[in-house]
């Protein structure tokens, strides 16, 4: 059986805010196996980002168990088991593109720095832009540098938090396609957070539909579309059926109500 | 919860006091060692002498407070011995200078924002003017202005004015320019005149910047007023007390004057902060 990269049992996370306790996650049961592309989808405030951050040990669960690569989330973070891509590129403006990709390699003390930098920039189709500064690139290109940076130290797990949310639809489609090709080449496990139904269906092998108040899993959908996909697949009836199922799940979770 | 939050500040303040008391011992040693030896040595004698010197190198906190008490509450406020009298002298030129400097700064800022040639010609010099240590040339200015026959308070206030206007100008220019492009375009769709845009949009938007600059300015104005008292051999005012204490080696007088000036500065800044809170509240800003 393929290794369990992420495993959560009865996971719960309650925030203590000034207005009282907020239950962000409630009774989450999740298993992500190696090589999968799993998306979390749901409206704002349903806990999908919180769940991703819990896996990344950027938040601490208040109940239940969570393991990453068989160890606790904190151990996994200290062992540098994953790469994280944020909603914004979060590049350091005083470093050129190649220095930005080099950042995790410097911190972790890894070797073959130049090789890793050039390989990963090529992977995101940005070869030739090494000496540019972030502000000289478009938003989509900056986000691609951020992805290259997350891959630079070759983690097996990639955590992505709405990475294409700030980009326009045409750029987004292009990047979706490039991400799928990248996943096929590198065979990583990807956990992806989005609020776009077509994006979730297009990219994933499995979709986790979540709903808010409290954050919980409504539905788990196995996407049985072929692994090699082109953008045209979004107009096929199979695609639309899965999208419909996602939408129904969201409605069940009251995501469309005020 | 509130006690928890005040705890670090209390701890730091307390440790400063303790360090102060302890520092008195070595700092006053040159004066106390013979006296302690004559009294037969011992810790008790060392402490007593270190903390009760008549003309100490470093007065102990209780000595400073006693001096302040003696010169503020134990004498009539209008007598020349009273620190309140001296504080009033300094405060009056501070406030005059502060008001004049503030007004000058606001007027300059409005001019700079509306007339581009004014900005290009003036701004570099306004910024360069701050590299001239005005406090250092205060003596000369005081002497020259004194000869013009203006009342003393205005000559001293002129130093404060010069020091004040720069932060107010810079802050107001930033504030008057702070409304974003969309809001300025809105005024254009109403065909609002420059004056209307100034009054209805720019001035209200600049209030936070104005108050931030005013708080910096009032403290600087007080410093300016104190320094302005130094050159003319003034006999009244906080600066005069500092100079006087320095000439006659009267350390306690210096420390007392300094504490009173510090207290006045804190009150002034706090007052401005209150005014800021009130006006921002009336404008609906978040508490």
């Amino acid at each position: 059986m393929a290794a369990q990269v992420v495993s959560a049992q009865d996971l719960g996370l309650t925030f203590q805010t000034g207005d009282g306790a907020v239950e962000a996650l409630s009774k989450i049961n999740l298993a992500v196996t190696e090589g999968e592309f799993v998306s979390f989808i749901g409206p704002s405030g349903c806990g999908k980002t919180t769940l991703l951050r819990a896996i990344a040990n950027l938040e601490v669960p208040t109940s239940g168990t969570l393991t990453v690569n068989g160890m606790s989330a904190e151990q996994a973070r200290l062992a540098r088991a994953y790469g994280y891509v944020f909603q914004a590129p979060a590049l350091l403006p005083w470093r050129k593109v190649d220095d930005n990709v080099r950042l995790p390699l410097e911190i972790m003390g890894l070797d073959d720095v130049a090789g890793r930098v050039s390989r990963n920039l090529e992977l995101v189709n940005l070869a030739g832009f090494e000496k540019k500064f972030p502000w000289q690139l478009s938003g989509g290109m900056q986000q691609r540098v951020s992805i290259a940076r997350a891959l630079a130290f070759d983690p097996h797990l990639l955590l992505m938090d709405e990475p294409f949310g700030a980009l326009d639809e045409i750029v987004r489609d292009k990047l979706n396609q490039q991400l799928l090709e990248l996943w096929a080449r590198t065979k990583k496990t990807i956990v992806f957070v989005t609020h776009s139904i077509p994006e979730a269906v297009f990219l994933s092998t499995r979709i986790i539909v979540m709903s808010p108040r409290p954050g919980r899993i409504i539905d788990v959908i196995d996407v049985d579309l072929p692994k090699q996909r082109k953008l045209e697949i979004r107009e096929t009836p199979e695609f639309l059926k899965i999208a419909h199922r996602v939408r129904e799940g969201l409605k069940t979770g009251h995501s469309y109500e005020d | 919860m509130r006690i928890e939050r005040a705890l670090p500040l209390l701890a730091v303040t307390l440790s400063i006091f303790i360090a102060w008391y302890l520092a008195c011992i070595p700092m006053n040693a040159v004066l106390t060692t013979p006296k302690v030896a004559a009294a037969g040595g011992g810790l008790a004698n060392t402490l007593t002498f270190s903390w009760n010197e008549a003309r100490p190198v470093l007065p102990a906190p209780h000595q400073v407070f006693r001096e302040i008490w003696n010169t503020t509450f134990a004498v009539e406020p209008w007598s020349i011995k009273s620190l309140i009298y001296h504080l009033w002298i300094t405060l009056s030129s501070t406030l005059v200078g502060f008001v004049m400097g503030g007004l000058l700064g606001i007027i300059l800022a409005i001019g700079i924002v509306h007339v581009i040639s004014l900005e290009k010609s003036l701004m570099p010099w306004v910024i360069a003017s701050q590299t001239i240590p005005i406090l250092a040339i205060a003596p000369m200015l005081i002497v020259v202005l004194g000869k013009t026959g203006l009342p003393d308070i205005f000559t001293k206030a002129s130093i404060s004015t010069y020091l004040c206007f720069f932060p107010v100008t810079i802050g107001m220019v930033k504030g008057l320019r702070s409304p974003d492009v969309m809001q300025q375009d809105l005024m254009r769709t109403y065909n609002a005149s420059s004056a209307q845009t100034l009054w209805k949009l720019r001035l209200p938007a600049s209030l936070p910047f104005l108050f931030a600059s005013l708080k910096v300015s009032v403290a600087i104005a007080l410093t300016g007023a104190i320094v302005a008292e130094l050159p003319t051999g003034a006999v009244s005012g906080i600066g005069a007390r500092l100079l006087n204490g320095s000439y006659y080696g009267n350390t306690m007088q210096i420390w007392a004057a300094l504490f009173v000036a510090a207290f006045a500065a804190a009150i002034l800044v706090w007052l401005l902060g209150e005014m800021e809170r009130q006006s921002l509240k009336r404008m609906g800003a978040k508490a």
Binding site: L92, W94 | S121
Partner: protein, 312 residues
Amino acid sequence: MTRAILTLLVSLGLSLLVAASFSRANPPTGQDWALSLAFVICSWVTAWSLSWVVDLILPKAQSRWLVPAIFGLGVIAAWEAYVHASAIPVVLLPSPTEITAKFVNSMPTLMADFVQTILRAVIPGWLIGCGAGFLTALACDRSDFLRRGLLPLGNLVAALPIVGVAPILVMWFGFDWPSKAAMVVVMTFFPMLINTLAGLNASGDMERDLMRGYAANWFTTLVKLRLPAAMPFIFNALKINSTLAMIGAIVAEFFGTPIVGMGFRMSTEVGRQGLDMVWAEITVAALVGSTFYGCLALLERKITFWHPSYRR
């Protein structure tokens, strides 16, 4: 354009009219002082409208530095004209030419004062004060307890008339340059502390999460993320402190100094009515201050080249 030329001609005419009306009596009468104020206003408008005209004629690239330069020259010319027109005694206001002459003739004295004040007090004091403020800020960053205790105190002290401690420092450190350097340290410490702390908090939450994801320790995060992000704030403090350092050293000399130093020279020459020497010292101070500030601004541009404020 017509408005600019009209303003120029009218204000120039008014200035000349006022200049001709001075009584040239010694000491100047009350009316003379009123005329002086009128002259100041008229000549200032003249200088400004001259630069206005130049601004309208020239292309943008040159006008950026030429306009303020013309305005400055206009002010100096007006100054010279004023001194000659009003026959104001030299003990009150010397002319630019007299000051330049004194400057050139007094180079040895000016040099000695420069060494005493700038090289022995301002520079070492600035380095120590900024360095101590920076290290204390790092300590406060490490210890939340220290920060919450020290920062309110720092904000309070920054508002106080710090110059008041000058006599105490003279008493503790003696008459010579150490007390002046100590004054500079006291004046520069807190602005550096406050600004560095503000700068350390300037890095974004996302970037800090990124470092946490790399399991980077405090020191690595400091060096690779938070210090570079803090540079704009740190340079802001360094520039402010350059001015404060000069003020501190010179004012401290008012409270006692050996017979050399810029502050000493200024206060004694005021007493001797040698105002041209005072102005010569002021010129030195202005030149040193501008150079100091300018060097810092150049360094800032090199290090914080990435900041949005530099992009056109």
